[in-house]
């Protein structure tokens, strides 16, 4: 197991180097921020001077070398716009992003797993049909629309919940539910299918024949085996959520990483874009690793050699 983890970690080195190279090239291809940073009325000299200040007048390979050397030490430079360290700009957004991602994951799991179990147990019943229909809605609804509708109902009409911004627990509810609903729907559909497969297995029938309660059969025997594809999917979704749910963040004015990245790209603020993409790559890779290790816990037949 330890050997497996070390091997995986070593494999990440080229991946992360690749990420650095790609993000550097992409940002430099789309043009530099000097044109945005100069003030209206500036002259050609001002423009050239701005490029000098930002170090963009140096040869591209030299810029890349400096970037790489610093990035490997965790230093992505300072934002062109605010003169603040890119790393601290990105890190101050991470808590908000993580908070929203885990809250919506919680919503998805708390609602999705029981719904899937119910649907699988009462297969083809009215309940199953209702749950399936609801999850179809959940998957199909665009998050910005659902978000605005919930804002209208709970924020404007009923005035139960704050409309936007980040603050206490109450601020988290609307964005978390908005994001959680589509994920919940995916969890429900995937888990129901896998549960149905597992429930028809011999060992489940054996367990029931032994006289175990339905609850024990489902939760102890069937669910654990049916969860693996769902765990994979949740890992990928969580990676995406941590990358920022730009639309939901925008609708609810949530100060997350996704919006920072989008704004920094529009501003051509290379240091912030580089740093954010790097952090996201690390997070994504780490989640993948955790998911792989979870397989072994859920299904002891899986070995890491």
């Amino acid at each position: 197991m330890l050997r497996y983890v070390v091997k995986r970690l070593l494999l990440y080195i080229p991946t992360l180097l690749g990420v650095l190279a790609v993000v550097f090239i992409l940002t430099h291809v789309v043009g530099d921020p000097s044109v945005l940073l100069i003030q209206p009325g500036a002259s050609r000299e001002d423009l050239e001077h701005m490029r000098e200040i930002l170090g963009l007048d140096r040869p591209i390979w030299e810029q890349f070398w400096v970037f790489l050397r610093q990035a490997l030490q965790g230093d992505f430079g300072t934002s062109f716009w605010s003169d603040r360290a890119a790393m601290s700009i990105v890190m101050e957004r991470l808590p908000a992003t993580a908070e929203l991602a885990f809250a919506s994951l919680l919503v998805a799991l708390v609602l999705g797993i029981p719904a899937a179990i119910l649907a699988a147990l009462k297969r083809n019943s009215f309940l199953d049909l209702s749950i399936s229909t609801l999850s179809l809605f959940g998957i199909s609804m665009p998050s910005f629309w659902l978000g605005l509708m919930m804002m209208l109902v709970f924020g404007v009409w009923l005035q139960w919940l704050p409309i936007s911004g980040r603050g206490g627990f109450d601020h988290l509810i609307l964005p978390a539910v908005t994001l959680g609903v589509s994920m919940m729907a995916i969890v429900e559909r995937l888990l129901r299918t896998d549960l149905l497969d597992v429930l028809s297995e011999d060992y489940v029938r054996t367990a029931a024949a032994k006289g175990l309660t339905t609850r024990r059969v489902v939760l102890k025997h069937a669910l654990k085996n049916a969860l693996i594809p769902t765990v994979t999917m949740i890992g990928m979704q969580l990676g995406g959520l941590l990358g920022g749910a730009v639309v939901t963040e925008t609708v609810f004015g949530w100060p997350g990483l996704g919006r920072l990245v989008v704004k920094s790209i529009a501003d051509r603020d290379y240091p912030v874009v580089h740093c954010a993409v790097w952090i996201l790559a690390v997070v994504f890779i780490s989640i993948n690793l955790v998911v792989d290790l979870l397989y072994g816990i859920l299904d002891p037949r899986i070995r890491y050699d």
Binding site: I38, V110, I163, S164, T213, T250, V251, F252, P255, L260
Partner: protein, 506 residues
């Protein structure tokens, strides 16, 4: 069945917990104002250009001079000033003014600010002049020199905030974001990234304590969300409401919409610098001005919230020439002009635009498409190409490879069109694509003319010439639509700054 019960139990528990925890506060506190913005700028450095944090910067910092809501020049931190030589201005500072940290405003502090403006290695606010020196005469008198001499020097430095001496030692902007210290009517409390900036009243303000006790600037990127917040009293002021939302906002009953004619002109610029291009011919450029039904676009797409321009001079600008009337909509005349220029069957041309620029942002696509349709009526086939702000800027003034026709806008400051004329139409400006020796010399003469009566005459001539030469399709000045809570007594300013020192409560 137990699973069902268990599930329902969990659901009930979770939803109850959610509702019990949710005890939000609605409505604003007395004396407090919340302003919604789609995003913040990156810094609070008054020497770097005010940008997206202009409202905040202007509340924290004062300039040596100041402009009132209509743009009239008034004394600021300097009680008076006099022109010593064309390039040198002497300022007599107001005595007894203190910064938010208790330091006194002296000539020495002003010098530190000007010196910081002059530091060559950092991005600073660009002016049509460069600061060349600053001399302390006595504790409350300071001489500032700049080159070239600018008749509007006193107006222009009104937006150069004077920061406390402790800040001037930092060449970079980062410290300013943590502890901005000025002499302004509001003091900085906190800046939570991408969420809010909070200011409180400066009771020691030299013009008297403001009635507004606290201002919160909140980031709310999505317009629909801003409007929902307005309707529930979560925010008090929103700038840039699209015209189609006006009835909905007014319907809330707690908010009014106030239009304020902006000083940003909208133009579609023609590249006159390519001799082989049809646009090098004056008749073609005039034809386009006749071919587009600008009034109809204002009425149908902008909801009537825009004012037609004859050239790029705002009606309240110094030197506005009322004798120059906008082009008439006349497709037949356009066709005649095209035929006279040698293009009886029209021509094909690329048309660059940025769908997200300007306050009428989302509608610029509709506007551009309507212009294309109007041009097609007279035989000109225009291919629309969209670029984002950075790409468009780079094409216009860095790579200078923008298409022969492109959408552009320019904000006029200090009620003086001189810099606008220069920026858009002087051959040496990096933003301009006009090569007209007469226009060039008039612009230079008008901008430098210390005798303002003569300058007025020159500006009048420039407008006549721009009208005839038609280096652009002249469109409009939009109205900025402000939604303002009915509990607040405040009128928007001509410069578009949400400056709440003079706001009061009903």
């Amino acid at each position: 069945m137990r699973v069902v019960r268990l599930t329902l139990g969990v659901l009930f528990a979770v939803s109850t917990a959610v509702l019990l925890c949710a005890v939000p506060s609605f409505g604003a506190e007395p004396g407090e104002i919340t302003v919604a913005q789609s995003g913040f700028g990156a810094h609070l450095d008054p020497h770097r250009g005010y940008g997206d944090n202009a409202h905040v910067l202007q509340s924290i910092y004062d300039g040596l001079t100041r402009l009132d809501a209509e743009g009239n020049l008034l004394p600021g931190l300097a009680e008076s000033w006099e022109q010593l030589t064309p390039g040198t201005m002497r300022f007599h500072l107001r005595q007894g003014v203190t910064f938010h940290n208790g330091d006194e405003l002296t000539a020495e502090v002003v010098k530190l600010n000007v010196d910081r403006m002059m530091s060559p290695s950092e991005p600073r606010q660009a002016y049509s002049f460069k600061f060349t020196g600053c001399t302390v005469v006595d504790k409350y008198t300071v001489d500032i020199t700049a080159s070239p001499a600018d008749p509007l020097f006193a107006n222009k430095i009104s937006y150069m905030g004077i920061a406390a001496a402790t800040l001037c030692g930092y060449p970079k902007s980062d410290q300013f974001a943590k502890t901005p210290i000025g002499t302004g009517p509001f003091k900085f409390v906190e800046w939570v990234a991408d969420q809010r900036i909070v200011l409180v009243a400066n009771d020691a303000y030299w013009r008297g304590a403001p009635e507004v006790r606290k201002i919160t600037y909140r980031v709310i990127p999505e317009l629909s969300t801003q409007i929902s917040e307005l309707a529930t009293g979560g925010v008090d002021i929103v700038m840039g409401i699209p015209s189609e939302f006006v009835p909905q906002v007014q319907a809330s009953g707690i908010v009014r919409v106030v239009p304020m004619m902006s000083t940003v002109n909208r133009v579609v610029v023609f590249r006159c610098d390519q001799p082989d291009s049809p646009l090098a011919k004056r008749e073609v450029r005039q034809a386009i001005n006749h071919a587009v039904n600008v009034d109809l676009i204002i009425e149908q797409i902008l909801g009537g919230y825009a004012h037609r321009e004859a050239t790029v001079c705002h009606p309240t600008d110094f030197g506005f020439n009322p004798n120059v009337a906008p082009y008439s909509y006349d497709p037949n005349k356009a066709k005649e002009l095209l035929a006279a220029a040698g293009y009886p069957n029209g021509f094909t041309v690329d048309f660059d635009y940025n769908p997200t620029s300007g306050t009428s942002g989302p509608k610029l696509t509709d506007v551009a498409q309507t212009i294309v349709a109007d041009l097609a009526q007279v035989g000109i086939k225009a291919n629309l190409v969209a670029y984002d702000q950075a790409a468009m800027s780079s094409r216009v003034y860095k790579a200078r490879n923008v298409s022969p026709v492109f959408d552009f806008g320019w904000k006029t400051w200090y009620n003086d069109p001189g810099d606008t004329f220069y920026g858009l139409f002087h051959s040496q400006s990096i933003y301009a694509y006009t090569n007209n020796a007469e226009i060039d010399s008039l612009i230079i003469a008008g901008r430098a003319e210390m005798d303002r009566d003569k300058a007025r005459e020159i500006y009048g001539k420039i407008q006549e010439l721009l009208f005839v030469e038609a280096p652009a399709l002249f469109l409009w000045y939009v109205d900025d639509l402000y939604a303002i809570s009915n509990r607040i007594n405040w009128t928007p300013r001509v410069d578009g700054r949400i400056y709440l020192y003079d706001a009061t409560f009903y």
